[in-house]
């Protein structure tokens, strides 16, 4: 009994440390200490588990842990910051796999020793395997699409929604069946395989650019699966972490869909992906965009006292964050104030731009949220749009027919002049034209953002 109490107290302490750790992420100063607390929590949880009397052999645990830790460390140290969305999809896949395997192995073990699960265990294990396996294949597909192994295009066929619905109903029916017939091994196997199929068929129809929302959704599923494991193993730390994890996916997904002006229930119930498929070209005033050379733009920048940089997905594509920081330094050396305006869904992941700019040593107190900075554009000399598009599209304010109408955007068009860096006249993620590019006080400098900015910096330094 005493060892058992120690185990339970370890788990309790771990749960507290995880919560305190996430609380630490409430501010950048306390964030690293928070992560340290969470790490200690994880060590305690593992140590507690090693003390459990069921655990009698260690070699397989050690082997698995060493392999996992080695691969995990290697990937995490090597991966460039621009590939974070891929990395997160990838690790959701492993999270789902682990949970599903725990459920399957538990079921298998009881079957081997001739016992059967009680109602609660069977319900929890069924949901655990279902959600875990869906997360596994779903995240793999998401990863493939982001990475380019799979076509980023939505892969659809007629009746797909109906097909998915049928699969989901069958899966739930199988779980119910198992609850009343826990020994129905065949049903269990079918459930597991079906869940793998559901994961694929849920994510295949969705366009690559919509992946971030899908990933948050899968994050929530993974959390729920872990919580279900907690119910079936009567393990509270699993329930708590599952709830924290599921909640984080849910909150980030909600925030994203709000900032993208879609109803979250649409996102939850699979109606996303539509924006990519229905490309509505908003009507533009028949003006030609005002293309400008690097020299013209540099002249404007030299005269500016305040510049607001608006980074977007294009900055990530061209890895221009370091170049941007150098430009900031060059401008600041000339006495100009440089601020960054970060739209909540700029890039392809919540907080994407913040991490990239932090990587390039930009101090985070120079980064401002939409609400903080939007009124300052009117007083700014230059808004420098580095590979952003949808998040500065004035149609969101003015054109009720636009698919992004109502989405809060950065008022780059309010600045005295606006310099836009992009490679072509192609639209951005939402697939719609952008009136900002043809506005008279916009200068469009075509070309890769990194190259263009480096050229700016050189010209400003040498001049």
């Amino acid at each position: 009994m005493n060892a058992e109490l120690v185990v339970q107290l370890c788990y309790l302490a771990a749960s507290i440390l995880f919560i305190l750790g996430l609380q630490g992420l409430g501010s950048p100063e306390r964030a690293r200490r928070g992560v340290l607390l969470a790490e200690i929590g994880m060590v305690l949880a593992v140590a507690g588990t090693l003390l459990r009397h069921e655990v009698i052999t260690y070699q397989w645990i050690i082997a698995g842990a060493l392999i996992g830790a080695a691969v995990g460390t290697w990937i995490s140290l090597k991966i460039p910051m621009t590939m974070m969305p891929e990395r997160i999809a990838f690790s959701h896949a492993f999270g789902g796999l682990a949970v599903a395997l725990v459920g399957i192995s538990e079921y298998w073990h009881l079957r081997e020793i001739g016992e059967q699960m009680n109602t609660l265990q069977m319900t929890a294990t069924g949901l655990e395997v279902l959600l875990g396996a869906v997360t596994f294949t779903g995240s793999l597909v998401a990863f493939g699409k982001l990475q380019g192994f799979l076509s980023g295009k939505p892969v659809t066929f007629k009746g797909q929604n109906f097909f998915n619905l049928v699969l989901a109903v069958v899966a739930v029916a199988l779980v119910l069946w198992l609850v009343f017939n826990p020994t129905a091994f065949a049903a269990f196997c079918v459930l597991a395989c079906l869940a793998l199929v559901i994961g694929v068929s849920l994510v295949m129809p969705i366009g690559g650019a919509d992946m971030p929302v899908v990933i948050c959704l899968l994050n929530s599923y993974a959390g729920l699966a872990a919580a279900a494991t907690g119910f079936s193993l009567r393990n509270n730390v699993l329930i708590i972490c599952g709830a924290l994890d599921g909640g984080s996916g849910f909150i980030l997904g909600m925030m994203m869909s709000k900032a993208m002006n879609r109803s979250f229930s649409n996102v939850l119930f699979g109606a996303f992906g539509s924006a990519t498929t229905t490309t509505v070209a908003g009507e533009l005033p028949g003006r030609a965009p005002n293309q400008a050379s690097v020299e013209d733009a540099v002249e404007v920048l030299r005269a500016a006292r305040t510049v607001i940089v608006v980074p977007g997905y294009g900055m990530a594509v061209s890895q221009a964050q370091h170049a941007v920081h150098e430009l900031q330094a060059a401008l600041a050396a000339g006495g100009c104030t440089v601020k960054y305006a970060i739209h909540p869904v700029a890039g392809r992941m919540p907080g994407h731009m913040n991490v990239l700019l932090a990587e390039a040593n930009v101090a985070y107190d120079a980064l401002f949220d939409l609400e903080q900075i939007n009124d300052e554009f009117a007083a700014a000399d230059v808004a420098l749009v580095v590979g952003a598009n949808d998040v500065v599209n004035p149609a969101a304010r003015t054109d009720p027919a636009s698919p992004i109408f109502g989405m809060p955007i950065l008022n780059a068009d309010a600045a005295r002049s606006c310099i836009v860096l992009k490679r072509s006249l192609n639209p951005g993620f939402a697939g719609i034209e952008n009136g900002l590019f043809v506005s008279p006080n916009t200068m469009l400098v075509l070309g890769d953002a990194k190259k263009t900015i480096t050229a700016f910096t050189q010209a400003i330094k040498s001049g």
């Binding site: 682990a98 725990v102 609660l120």
Partner: protein
């Protein structure tokens, strides 16, 4: 109360309270740190390690053990990888201007 019922009820309490705690904590994470947050919850979700270890280490026959071992590897990949990358990201966030290259 039967044993079964009791663990269901207690589990529901804990889940509900944890959902409240989670929402309140996560709502306060600033947008600035949303990417590290995703990585950190990723690491924490590796807590399924705790279940995997029992599956791999309880001497339950080949099939269960193999599955358990794979689960341990997958979960510890998330735990270790998640914490490493979270910390790597957070180290980049600086308040004052860092030295320029």
């Amino acid at each position: 109360m039967t044993d079964l019922l009791e663990s269901l009820v207690f589990g529901l309490y804990i889940f509900t309270l944890a959902v409240f705690v989670g929402f309140q904590v996560l709502e306060r994470v600033p947008k600035l740190l949303h990417t590290p947050l995703m990585a950190a919850t990723n690491a924490i979700s590796g807590i399924s390690l705790v279940g995997s270890m029992v599956a791999a280490g309880s001497g339950r026959g080949t099939v269960a053990t193999v599955m358990g071992t794979v689960a341990v590897a997958a979960a510890s990949l998330n735990v270790v990888g998640g914490f490493v990358i979270t910390d790597r990201m957070l180290r980049m966030f600086k308040k004052r201007e860092g030295p320029r290259k």
